[in-house]
């Protein structure tokens, strides 16, 4: 006999009058709409009269052909999933045996196994045995709610229990009702249910406690039978009663405001479909507390005596009623909407084997559904949950970020719930300091709309914005204790808010004891004065910062850097332009830096001075910004309220000498220096000139900051509020080991950038591990030195849009920095790319250094390039032998840089002797040799010049010319047969094999040739994008250390060769080279990187 194949087979007694049949019908509609093939199988039980009709909802499904009604005793069925409804149906074997084969079999436990006294409703073992006999082993019992699950577990059910609840489906649109206003002039409460005794309170007194006889409340009851009427006796005047099915329940629910459902104490409600319907209808639902595990935040849970006061309280505050109504609707949409059921079925069907095999299928399915702790599967447990608008720029963001770090370090599990409010002074994204906590795994962000959170402590920031209505979601949080942090007086707050109303609202929605926590005494007084009723925390909520170890640091710059970080707004600044200039001068005597969000547009009524260096918190980490200051100087206008307290404390803690007006001493103690604004800059100059005095003051401030505002403050208040952390504290370690340096070189015309980086990298002190990311196509020389290297394709090679390329550069660099855990990035290039700055700037664990050679051409428009120096933590400028000829922009910016001697790859002791070098190159050491190294030829014609040089050399038969072939040269054509070509790196290693050279005057070639005393005829590359090579070459010639060709295409080279072949001349040149030469600065640069940044 062939079998019919379906996706699902649904089995039950189709005559059940109540929730079971309604539930089956809803599931059929949802599944049919999703195009599942469904079979419906009726198994008649003795419970119902043989002539009783199918439930009308199920009959409608059959009539509408949403499913096939199949007699499975006649027609065998095969399906992915078999769903058996209600254990009652299977308490006895049916008269006609159905033939159904399915991979996954679910028995939906609509009824509990035992009642509240432990008396069984049915024999679960018998039910399971009947099901297994009919459908095979591996039946999974599916509870319909958390209470139903608890009942199965309490009954020690020895069979598999499905990991998720089989929630009832509700057709939400059918129950929709308008709750914008009350039904009538007085509250209307009611309920609907079956009329059986167990569905009602046990006694008259119990009944009247929750359905009171009083004139100021209307009571409407649907499903009343004679028994209840006889129990109550004379019906109270304010009651209206209806028999079961007398009214359509949806219509009935639209006629009441509050759904109040209390039943017999012996009865255990498996789910409470009528409650779900009331929630879908938008009623505010009041239930006994044992329902909380099922309906969570959707209902209010009250003892019977508290029902009436709650009704009156909510009726009087209709806004609050609507919030609660909305919470209930959202909850039931999630729990009972069709999507939840379809996902459940999809999961079960996808878990089924492709070719169902009875035994194997059961084994795999059973293994998949063993629950570990099914009752708690859907609740996120946290020690501290923080709620607020995390896009804010001000103090709140820093408070949240620092406290999250402290909580993590102490072992408290932190959840973050972002509730976007209506404030205008917020950014578009989560504040980077808070986002960093998430990125580092210190706190867990949770979706307010879908995650149910149980927390030991709820901290609310910005109370005016929380639970303020659409579009903000209503968070699902159950709290043991609540602290509301108040950083502005509710009275002066724009706009003012009703603190008492917020107090009630928070307690209603989040539960738990609630305390208001002002951040200072002024706000405390304001609250006490205006709102005596609310409960205040004893101590103020002082800033408490997670502060790292600190040490005094060297300075790489020679002009003091002062700065501040604050919110935007004129009141944050001194009132007049003169006062601003007094404290933050723009005359060049010092560097002024300002970190400000939103972007600073106005200061004392005018634009900020152009000389100031402006930063935005999204692009620069605040701790790095502060670290790079010498002085944090904060003066504001009269009447100013919001201080950048966290920034001030962080500056003190990081050893940045802090200068403040005197009136702030009470708040910040003895750590900062206090003076009048007129004296602030004199104080800066005085301390900057005395390093020891500066270090003493910095050390004192760092200690004071830790004592007054350290992590212990927040830990102590947490212990006071919720006790110790349950979890062990986090393993404390740095995310990055502080020994990886990423060297990034741009793509120059030659190898200068890469060579300088290699020179520094190979001298980094142990245990530093250099890693490279280079845009140069000569990457192989990095690997030749044993360093790992990544390649970044350069925009010019591909002709890319530069702005777009920078975005992709930033993304790739972030990947590389994260993978290699680099704590420092050292860049060598003429232009610091915005992608580089964007990748490193916001990263608190990664510092950025720039090795910047000088000799920029004065005519190049490089103002924008040099302005980017403000983003570097360290700038190293390697000196140039021709530095006296330097007229470029770096000269006037040298105050910002640390100068080291010229950087060379090799020290003199690494050069081969003449004998060894000549042997390696195959040259005769007794004959003169010429090295031709004109560069890559990327931007000039080196071929014709080389041709002229070789033509000239041919006139000197003893001379051995060697052409240095550039590793990056575009073509490798063999244009000069018989001439030796040298492909190698570094060429300077073989310098002693040569008597003289003809070469370019780039930084490396020039400084190497002079420092290593190789007599050279320089051929400067005069292309406008190059550095000032001619200045170098003429400087060397003027000092008798080299020759310089004016025009290699026309000059008679033979004269130059004759000069160079004269030993006396060469000796003279070498002597002068020795006079000009400087020590190799590579080691100093390496030491500085380690010393300043690591």
């Amino acid at each position: 006999m062939s079998s019919n194949l379906y996706d699902l087979v649904i089995v039950g007694d189709l005559r059940f009058p109540g929730g079971t049949s309604t539930c089956m019908a809803q599931e059929i509609r949802a599944l049919a709409n999703a195009s599942y093939r469904l079979a419906l199988v009726h198994i008649p039980t003795r419970r119902f009269n043989r002539n009783q009709q199918f439930h009308n909802h199920l009959q409608a499904c059959i009539d509408e052909e949403l499913c096939d009604l199949v007699d499975a005793s006649e027609t065998p069925l095969r399906a992915e999933l078999l769903v058996l409804h209600n254990p009652y149906v299977f308490t006895e074997a049916p008269e006609r045996r159905p033939q159904i084969y399915a991979a996954t079999k679910i028995l939906v436990a609509h009824q509990p196994i035992v009642d509240a006294n432990g008396v069984p409703y049915y024999d679960a073992a018998r039910v399971n045995a009947v099901c297994e006999d009919l459908f095979g082993t591996g039946i999974q019992w599916a509870p319909i709610s958390a209470a139903s699950r608890a009942n199965l577990i309490a009954a020690n059910l020895p069979y598999p229990i499905l990991e998720e609840d089989w929630g009832n489906l509700i057709e939400l649109d059918h129950w929709q009702a308008d709750r914008s206003r009350p039904v009538g002039l007085i509250p209307v409460i009611g309920r609907h249910s079956r009329p059986e005794w167990e569905k009602w309170p046990a006694t008259r007194e119990d009944t009247l406690l929750v359905y009171p006889a009083r004139d100021d409340i209307d009571v409407r009851l649907l499903g009343v039978a004679e028994r209840l009427q006889s129990q109550i006796g004379e019906q109270p005047r304010n009651w209206r009663t209806y028999a079961f099915n007398e009214l359509d329940p949806a219509q009935f629910l639209r006629s009441i405001d509050f759904f109040v459902y209390y039943h017999h104490q012996d009865w255990i409600e498996g789910f409470g479909r009528n409650i779900a319907e009331a929630l879908a209808s938008g009623c505010v639902v009041i239930l006994p507390p044992h329902f909380q595990s099922v309906f969570q935040e959707a209902a209010l849970y009250r003892e019977p005596g508290d029902v009436v006061p709650t009704i009156l309280e909510f009726y009087r505050d209709w806004e609050r009623y609507q919030v609660q109504s909305d919470v209930g609707r959202r909850f039931i949409t999630r729990l009972c909407g069709p999507d939840a059921h379809l996902k459940r079925v999809r999961r079960l069907i996808s878990a089924a084997p492709v070719h169902p095999n009875e035994t194997d299928g059961f084994a795999s399915t059973l293994a998949a559904v063993k629950p570990s702790n099914p009752a708690k599967a859907s609740i996120h447990e946290a020690d501290v949950t923080v709620v607020g608008d995390f896009r804010c720029y001000g103090e709140t963001a820093w408070r949240v970020a620092h406290e999250a770090r402290i909580q993590a370090a102490a072992g408290y599990r932190t959840a973050l719930v972002h509730l976007p409010g209506q404030r205008a002074d917020v950014g578009p994204v989560i504040h980077p300091a808070i986002d960093a906590c998430v990125g580092e795994g210190l706190a867990t962000p949770l979706d307010p709309a879908s995650t149910l959170i149980h927390t030991r402590l709820l901290i609310i920031h910005g109370p005016e914005s929380v639970l303020s209505g659409d579009p903000q979601p209503v968070p699902r949080i159950l709290a043991d204790k609540i602290v509301v942090v108040v950083d502005q007086s509710p009275v002066n707050h724009p706009p003012p808010y009703d603190l008492i109303r917020k107090d009630r609202l928070f307690r209603t929605h989040f539960g738990g004891e609630l305390y208001w926590a002002p951040v200072d005494e002024e706000i405390r007084h304001s609250i006490v004065e205006h709102n005596a009723d609310v409960r205040l925390l004893d101590s103020t909520w002082t800033p408490s910062l997670a502060l790292p170890t600190w040490r005094t640091r060297p300075r790489a710059h020679t002009v003091p850097i002062i700065g501040r970080s604050s919110l935007a707004g004129d009141r944050q600044w001194p009132d007049t332009a003169e006062e601003v200039e007094q404290v933050y001068p723009a005359n060049g005597e010092l560097v002024v830096r300002v970190a400000c969000a939103p972007a600073l547009r106005s200061v004392a009524g005018g634009p900020p001075p152009a000389a100031w260096q402006l930063f935005h918190p999204a692009s620069t980490d605040q701790s790095k910004f502060i670290d790079n200051l010498d002085f944090f100087v904060y003066y504001a206008g009269n009447g100013h309220k919001e201080l950048p307290s966290h920034a001030i404390i962080e500056a003190m803690a990081r050893g940045v000498v802090t200068i403040l007006p005197r009136h702030l001493k009470a708040q910040f103690g003895t750590g900062p220096l206090y003076t009048r604004p007129q004296r602030a800059i004199a104080m800066v100059h005085s301390l900057f000139a005395r390093q020891d005095a500066y270090d003493d003051q910095a050390t004192h401030a760092a200690r004071q900051a830790r004592q007054q505002f350290g992590a212990n403050i927040h830990k102590a208040r947490l212990r006071h509020l919720i006790g110790d952390a349950i979890k062990e504290p986090y393993t404390t370690h740095r995310r990055r080991a502080n020994n990886r340096v990423l060297f990034v070189s741009s793509n120059g015309v030659g190898l200068g950038h890469l060579t300088r980086l290699l020179a520094v990298a190979r001298r980094m002190p142990e245990p530093v591990e250099p890693v490279f990311a280079t845009m140069s196509q000569a990457l192989q020389i990095v690997e030749q030195h044993g360093f790992p290297a990544e390649h970044i394709p350069f925009h010019a090679y591909n002709g890319c849009n530069i702005a777009d390329w920078n975005v992709w550069l930033s993304k790739q660099l972030r990947q590389v920095i994260d993978y290699y855990a680099a704590s420092t990035v050292v860049f060598d290039g003429s232009v610091p790319y915005s992608g580089l700055i964007d990748a490193v700037g916001p990263d608190p664990d990664c510092r950025l250094a720039w090795i910047r050679r000088g000799m920029w051409r004065p005519e190049q428009a490089n103002d924008g390039v040099i302005a980017r120096q403000q983003h570097f933590d360290l700038i190293i400028e390697p000196d140039d032998i021709a530095a006296t000829q330097d007229n470029g922009l770096t000269v006037e910016n040298r105050h910002a840089a640390l100068t080291v001697a010229p950087i060379r790859l090799l020290d003199e002791d690494e050069l081969l002797s003449r004998q060894d070098a000549a042997e390696a190159l195959g040259l005769d050491p007794d004959r003169p040799a010429l090295l031709i190294q004109l560069g890559a030829g990327s931007n000039q014609d080196v071929v014709s010049v080389t041709g002229r040089i070789l033509q000239t050399a041919a006139a000197f038969p003893q001379l051995q010319p060697v052409i240095a072939e550039w590793l990056m040269a575009p073509h490798h054509l063999d244009l000069w047969p018989g001439v030796k070509r040298l492909r190698g790196y570094p060429l300077s290693r073989y310098f002693k094999a040569f008597d003289f050279a003809v070469g370019a005057a780039g930084y490396n070639a020039f400084n190497e040739a002079i420092s290593l005393a190789l007599p050279t005829i320089f051929v400067p590359n005069d292309q406008p994008e190059m550095d000032d090579q001619r200045a170098r070459a003429t400087h060397a010639e003027a000092n008798g250390a080299a020759l310089c060709l004016d025009d290699p295409q026309t000059t008679d080279l033979s004269q130059y060769f004759e000069i160079m072949l004269n030993q006396d001349v060469r000796n003279h040149l070498k002597t002068n080279c020795a006079r000009l030469t400087r020590a190799n600065g590579a080691a100093a640069a390496a030491g500085a990187i380690a010393d300043y940044l690591m």
Binding site: H418, V429, P432, R706, M764, E769, Q777, N798, G799, D907
Partner: protein, 225 residues
């Protein structure tokens, strides 16, 4: 692979003017001309036995880590250690946790000299995986791709390579992305498994160039190198 669709003529890619088209055609023509002359020159010199001697010297230079380096003794103020999670989860990027994530249109790779008319057009971009190929074999594959491109003129290749012989790609003017082979990355281990990192790099490369698909040459599949 979920590469973003390359939108036709996006704001970054304007339709070229007649002059620009003409110049690009000229570049193509010149590239072919140079190729021919170079080939002829090489052949002539080989026939005449004319060649130079090339010395290749790439010595491994040891590190000279500074031993005299001594950190100054700084005044220090200790604090409690900073907490770090061992393996931070990836931060969410959802509407309920808005994060900064700058986006940019995919880049347009260099089309190669012989089909330079495709520069800055919306021709589809193919990833050509050539991991583990010898230089000789790589040379052949590049010639093959260039030849195919000349025939169809409807794609731009981006080569994915573990070879440092970048001059081969440069010769054709083709775009390439480099990922080091196992023997080249032995010295330093990363913070995560290399294959996970490589998978992320590859995903970034796909988005960056909007690769329509990847064609593999050689035995080493993507992710196995």
């Amino acid at each position: 692979m979920n590469a973003p669709a390359r939108s036709p003529l996006s704001s970054r890619i304007a339709a070229p003017s007649a002059d620009v088209r003409s110049l690009r055609q000229r570049v193509e023509s010149q590239a072919r001309h140079i190729e021919t002359i170079e080939g002829r020159l090489r052949q002539t010199m080989a026939d005449a036995g004319l060649r130079s001697e090339t010395v290749e010297l790439l010595p491994a230079l040891p590190r000279r880590a500074i031993t005299e380096y001594q950190q100054r003794v700084w005044k220090t103020v200790a604090a409690e250690p900073v907490a770090r999670a061992d393996q931070p989860p990836a931060p969410p990027q959802t509407s309920w946790w808005p994060r900064h994530d700058e986006t940019a249109p995919p880049l347009v790779p260099a089309p190669g000299w012989s089909c330079y008319e495709l520069a800055n057009t919306t021709a589809k971009v193919l990833g050509i995986s050539v991991f583990g190929l010898t230089e000789e074999r790589l040379h052949e594959v590049l010639a093959l791709i260039a030849s195919q491109q000349r025939k169809t003129r409807d794609f731009t290749p981006v080569f994915l390579t573990s070879s440092t012989a970048f001059h081969l790609f440069r010769h054709h003017g083709f775009a390439f992305e480099y990922l080091p082979s196992a023997d080249r990355r032995q010295n330093v281990t990363g913070q995560q498994d290399w294959h996970d990192y490589a998978a992320h790099r590859l995903e970034l490369i796909c988005r960056k160039w909007a690769l329509a698909r990847i064609v593999c040459f050689g035995a080493q599949a993507i992710g196995s190198w």
